[in-house]
Amino acid sequence: MTAVSSRDLTEAEDAAFAAVELARHPQRPRALDVIEHLFDDWTELRGDRLYGDDPAMLGGPALLDGRWVMVLAQEKGSDAMSRALRNFGMPHPEGYRKAQRLMRQAERFQLPVLCLVDTPAAHAGVGAEERGQAWAIAETLLVALRLRVPVISTILSEGGSGGALALALADRVLALENAVYTVAPPETCAAILWRDSGQRARAALALRPGVATALALGLVDELIPEPSPGVHAHPTLVMAALRGALVRHLDQLDALGAEPRMSLRRSRYRSAGDPVLN
């Protein structure tokens, strides 16, 4: 083991957590901003037809560059009021069941599914457990895997836990450069490993939460570059690049045809996480 002074370590931990905080920057564009920038005729459809409507999960058809797509998105909110309304982007089971409903609808009407991921994690709470949070996520994964239409997912800012993966099982996964994509938020990881969520910086360093890790492991396909200090400085520029990437990948996926696309999606996840980082 290399000798690392405790000061160096602390600095590295602080830098790692600063990267997480950059991804959580309140001025980064939220899903609704992205929808407004990228799509026309966005029509929100609500409700899971089972229990309720989850404001942390949005869905509905929209036009991207002249073609109809189904947009599914986690919305964190952009001020105190909307953050409370959107539960900080942490969906309940109703959100995942709404997503399933709209995925099936996209299939019926032959719309590609475009997911926008922005959640620290699925909501942890009594109601969420009573209504089967794990079951809702597990079923969303199955529905997404089986879609015959193209699925493209974009990690906007924060993708945490199965709550993010439910919208990120896709033919193509894009991510904004400064986004994070992790097995769990650093706070939760620290609570699990050391029973102390205060050690979130230590967890942030160990987890390598930046999307570059997921890119190296083949779980993200393309990073959308962000100008310094981040997308919030020049949102229009980044949105244009994201639109271009989405259109390009949609064209490629359309050309593939349904059967090859589905089998490629499956085989991609059959070796998921195997390549080794060096």
């Binding site: 083991m1 699925a122 942890a124 709470g125 009594v126 969420a128 457990e129 009573e130 209504r131 089967g132 949070q133 794990a134 079951w135 996520i137 597990a138 079923e139 994964l141 199955l142 895997l145 089986r146 836990s161 199965g162 993966l165 099982l169 994509y181 992790t182 097995v183 769990a184 939760t188 990881c189 609570a191 699990i192 490993l193 050391w194 969520s197 160990a206 987890l207 390598r208 939460p209 890790t213 997921a214 492991l217 779980l219 499956r266 996840y269 059959r270 070796s271 998921a272 996480g273 195997d274 390549p275 080794v276 980082l277």
Partner: protein, 288 residues
């Protein structure tokens, strides 16, 4: 540590504060503290005769308990060492793996075998909770998927015994990806028309519940097993919610419609046998 005074919480404990030193061959129930002969406890499938508490079962023992005697054939599988993040949580991940292997005698948190269950040849995937909390990493995910592939190739039913703390933090995003891998593996079993039966044992949480545990055709759970997405401690801290009685226990999940039945350990074999006969119409007729 010597305590001068015992509070009410201590006095309410059903077992003595100072535990007697147990003779070899003696154990005590984690539920009620009753002492028992280890050998008799094992013959009772690790269920306490005094209180019915279902003790934790190591993965290979679980397979032996479910299978017809003498039919278990472990599926040989390579478990390559993976440390995608070069993770160090106070102990380097490869060292932690080595320690878990020494402590459990298992190569990973997932053990798969071909076995006969009530006369039907099945593929059993059994999780080892004592191996890093039964956490799901890329090796365990690969083993589960290989078990699914074997079930499809030989047209066998799949039986999974799930007990896990969730995705393995030490593998980071690569562990999260296992939810997708296992989902794809389960989909292949389902698309082949083969039944997939899951038994959820205490505890079963996080990414395992949010993928293959909840994706089974039939979900059974052992009495009192704690099952959910987020752990009760996390929920209490995060949401400051008052936890209802019996929260996340198997019986609670049954009443909320999330599982098919709460089944005591002694009843698992007969119920699985019946289900395999009912749903095994598209399975291969020939035994292994």
């Amino acid at each position: 540590m010597v305590r001068a005074a015992t509070g009410t919480a201590d006095r309410a404990r059903p077992y003595p504060l100072i535990r007697p030193i147990l003779r070899p061959g003696l154990g005590s129930c984690e539920g009620c503290g009753a002492r028992h002969l280890q050998e008799r406890f094992e013959r009772a499938l690790q269920v306490c005769p005094a209180c019915g508490h279902h003790g934790r079962v190591p993965a290979p023992v679980r397979i032996e308990q479910l299978a017809d005697p003498g039919t278990v054939a472990p599926i040989a599988a390579m478990v390559p060492e993976r440390d995608p993040l070069r993770f160090d949580d106070g102990m380097a991940y490869p060292d932690r793996l080595r320690a878990a292997r020494e402590a459990t005698g298992q190569s990973e948190a997932m053990l798969t075998a071909r076995a006969s269950l009530g006369g039907t040849t099945v593929v059993i995937a059994s999780m080892e909770f004592d191996f890093l909390g039964g956490s799901l990493g890329s090796a365990a995910g690969a083993l589960f998927a290989a078990g699914c592939d074997l079930a499809v190739a030989e047209r066998r039913a799949l039986v999974a015994v799930c007990t896990s703390g969730g995705a393995r933090m030490q593998e980071g995003i690569a562990a999260l990806a296992q939810l997708a891998r296992c989902t794809a593996a389960v989909a292949a079993v389902a698309d082949a028309g083969l039944p997939y039966l899951a038994v959820l044992a205490d505890p079963c949480f996080g990414g395992v519940t949010a993928s293959f545990a909840a994706q089974a055709d039939v979900i059974l759970a052992e009495p009192g097993a704690r099952i959910g997405f987020a752990g009760g401690r996390v929920i209490e801290q995060a949401a400051r919610d008052q936890l209802p009685d019996g929260f996340q226990k198997a019986e609670f999940l049954l009443s909320h419609g999330m599982i098919d039945a709460v089944v005591s350990r002694t009843e698992l074999r007969p119920i699985l046998t019946t289900l395999l006969r009912a749903y095994g119409g598209r399975c291969a007729r020939v035994p292994a």
